[in-house]
């Protein structure tokens, strides 16, 4: 079954401007009608992966792209991250749609989302 990369996520200071940019450039469709107000991005293709855009504060971090990997058990994967020398940024959280998500840093300091689908 593997542990596939299922989604990209862009962290943006101005998500509205960013999604407007990609909508104009690539025709990506954005929908934020969900309990997290999460801007899901549909690339409009049955190839590749879809994504999302998440806001960051004006003074924190910097805009970047993260990959989300689907795992069988997000808590177990997070525990393994520490054993392997990575770091936990956001411990496992349950999203309103039932998915579970954690954000970690790999050994290079790159952030990575670990996702467990609700069912």
């Amino acid at each position: 079954m593997g542990q596939p990369v299922v989604q990209f996520q862009i962290l943006a200071r101005n998500p509205d401007a960013l999604t407007a940019f990609y909508a104009a450039l690539l025709g990506w469709r954005v929908n934020a009608d969900n309990a997290m107000g999460y801007r899901t991005v549909d690339t409009g293709s049955d190839r590749g992966i879809n994504g999302g855009v998440w806001p960051i504060g004006p003074t924190e971090g910097h805009p970047l792209v993260q990959l989300f990997v689907e795992v069988d058990d997000v808590a177990a994967s997070v525990a393994k991250v520490e054993q392997l020398g990575g770091r936990i940024v956001i411990p496992p959280q349950a999203l309103p749609d039932g998915d579970r998500l954690a954000i970690v840093l790999d050994t290079e300091g790159l952030s990575l989302g670990l996702m467990q689908r609700s069912g």
């Binding site: 924190e60 940024v89 496992p92």
Partner: protein, 263 residues
Amino acid sequence: MKAHVLTDPTPAPRRFSQFLQEELAMRCARNPRYSLRAFARYLKLDHSTLSQLLRGRRRFTARTVERIGARLSLTPAVITQYVELERTSPESWAARELRQLSRDASRSLAEWHHPAILELTRLTSFRPDVRWIARVLDVSVDEVNVAVTRLARMGLLDMQSRTTWIDKAGNAEARIDGESVHAVSAFAGRARAIAGSSGGRPAHYSATTVAVASLTSQRIAERVAQFRREIGEMLESMDAERDHVYRLELAFFPVADLTPTES
């Protein structure tokens, strides 16, 4: 599970600024009133100097490391190690991470909607839906999500299940006293101005955001009125010559609009 960035088990070497950021973060975690200014006072440094040192905008001199290290009771060997590291090592991603944590701590205390979000989770009517949170607090969905990210990153908010979010912070408090602004909420602008111009005279501002039952809120309002009357009576009963004018402001008001909406 807590965010383990709060208790970094990574051994030395690390730069002196990282060590100080960790120390500040730990103090902030232990005491919600603690601030960069308080830390600077303790270290006998100007707060803007400390801020620049922590942000990497100013380099530590050997003498500064020695002085701060001694103040924090580091051994001479450890101080010497930090002096050497300051000469050589580049900033690591761990340092950036710790700096972010320290920024999270100060923002989570300073921006009023952070504690308000945590308090909303205590309500029976709470909905784990940022659109609802944004509406009742009259802030944007993005502001809620930036705050939720910070709170989760700090281990102050646990989104435990699709229906349950847990406030792990306890009762956070924003306070200004003396010339120091510990944390500033949206209500505190006036108090901040006063604290900044009080000429060294004692000033005190404190605020807390709490979830309450309607019945309790009436009782608190009565206690606030009673307290104000007691202060007035105490002043009237004192014979000492009056030589200053202070204003005592007590406010107790809702920050969330929980009026049901038509759906």
